[in-house]
Symmetry: C2
Subunit: 188 residues, 2 copies
DNA sequence: CGCCGAGTTGAACTGAATCAAGAAACGTGG
DNA sequence: CCACGTTTCTTGATTCAGTTCAACTCGGCG
């Protein structure tokens, strides 16, 4: 439970009591490479913290699927709108590498909201962070070329991207694997 | 104050008391066509409801600016991440048509959170709605062509878009005004 | 060993950008 | 209320980034 504790220490002033309540609700979940964390049509019952690993979010589209997001060690992840609404997911989450998650269930999170002073802060930070991530991505689609999007991607997370197949990166950027292969060749 | 009351009646069960507290904090603000609601670099002090009008969000980019969002009658709007963080805005909000807003200040909203049972629901609905809007937009950039994005745009808000100059729509879709002009010609 | 999916490379094609010029609409001042 | 200048929209010609289809290579795995 090292990473998640570090995460909170950096962000908020967590009392011993609050941390004990919160951490007692955390469930460790392990996923092997290429296994599915949330299947299409399932309910999302967890808000999860990535202790270790890389995951991808995808939606089915025509014959392939489209990768629209990644999660790395130290990120909070969830099929968030479906977690909140408790409706079946229209997308899928899977582990790209060996992954360990600390997960809080929907019911336990409600309890945390009610019994700790930090609960609402956690919820707010989660949704705020997700919103900002999507906002930045919107701007990148409007202002950057595919090549520029690729460059800012590797600039931020160069080492993390080693483990991600090119075809997923291409999809995330919004181009075909062929086009990304040529971009890599051109800039190298 | 007709539209905003209708909005809440549809969504949540608002007690007479809560509504009185909430509505007593609402400030009416009027903007003429092409006037600026939030200037670049300003602090966003309000979460606002559009009683009537059309607004656009833009960021400066090279010589023009880029329109990345619109707000219509019945929407909640704010430079939300800057409202939350109380940092200076990196984008601008302006009225495209004659606009009336009902605005709650940051300080008053904190008070509403503390004194009404509905406060947190309002905050959650606001951020949830904003997150879902951005998520849908992300998918549209990954799965749709410019023409398809234009078609789904006019499908949803055909009448509202009459008042919006083509160049803003083009920018929002992610293409040049010339390209949108040609798309319109082709599909008409 | 042979197969299969992932990545690379090539050639033809296409949607959109860019540069440029003209037409239409819009607002402002006389 | 019209005349003028400015901005917005349209249209054309050219260029370019990325798609599509196809063939080939490479590495992992049964």
């Amino acid at each position: 439970m090292i990473e998640i504790q570090k995460y909170f220490e950096k962000l908020v002033d967590l009392s011993q009591n609050d941390w004990e309540i919160f951490s007692s609700k955390l469930i460790e979940r392990n996923f092997s490479k290429n296994s599915i964390i949330i299947k299409l049509g399932q309910k999302e019952n967890y808000l999860s913290f990535i202790e270790k690993g890389v995951i991808r979010f995808s939606i089915p589209h025509e014959f392939n699927d489209i990768t629209f997001d990644f999660g790395f060690t130290g990120d909070f992840i969830s099929a968030y709108q479906y977690f909140l609404s408790q409706q079946p997911c229209t997308y899928q989450i899977e582990a790209i590498s060996e992954t360990t998650l600390w997960s809080v269930s929907f019911a336990d999170l409600q309890e945390i909201y009610n019994t700790t002073t930090i609960g609402n802060t956690i919820g707010r930070l989660a949704s705020e962070g997700l919103f900002i991530k999507k906002s930045n991505r919107e701007i990148s689609f409007l202002t950057q070329s595919a090549e520029e999007r690729y460059l800012s991607l590797i600039e931020n997370d160069a080492h993390l991207l080693q483990s991600i197949p090119l075809k997923y990166l291409a999809s995330y950027i919004g181009i075909t694997p062929q086009a990304l292969s040529r971009i890599r060749k051109r800039i190298s």
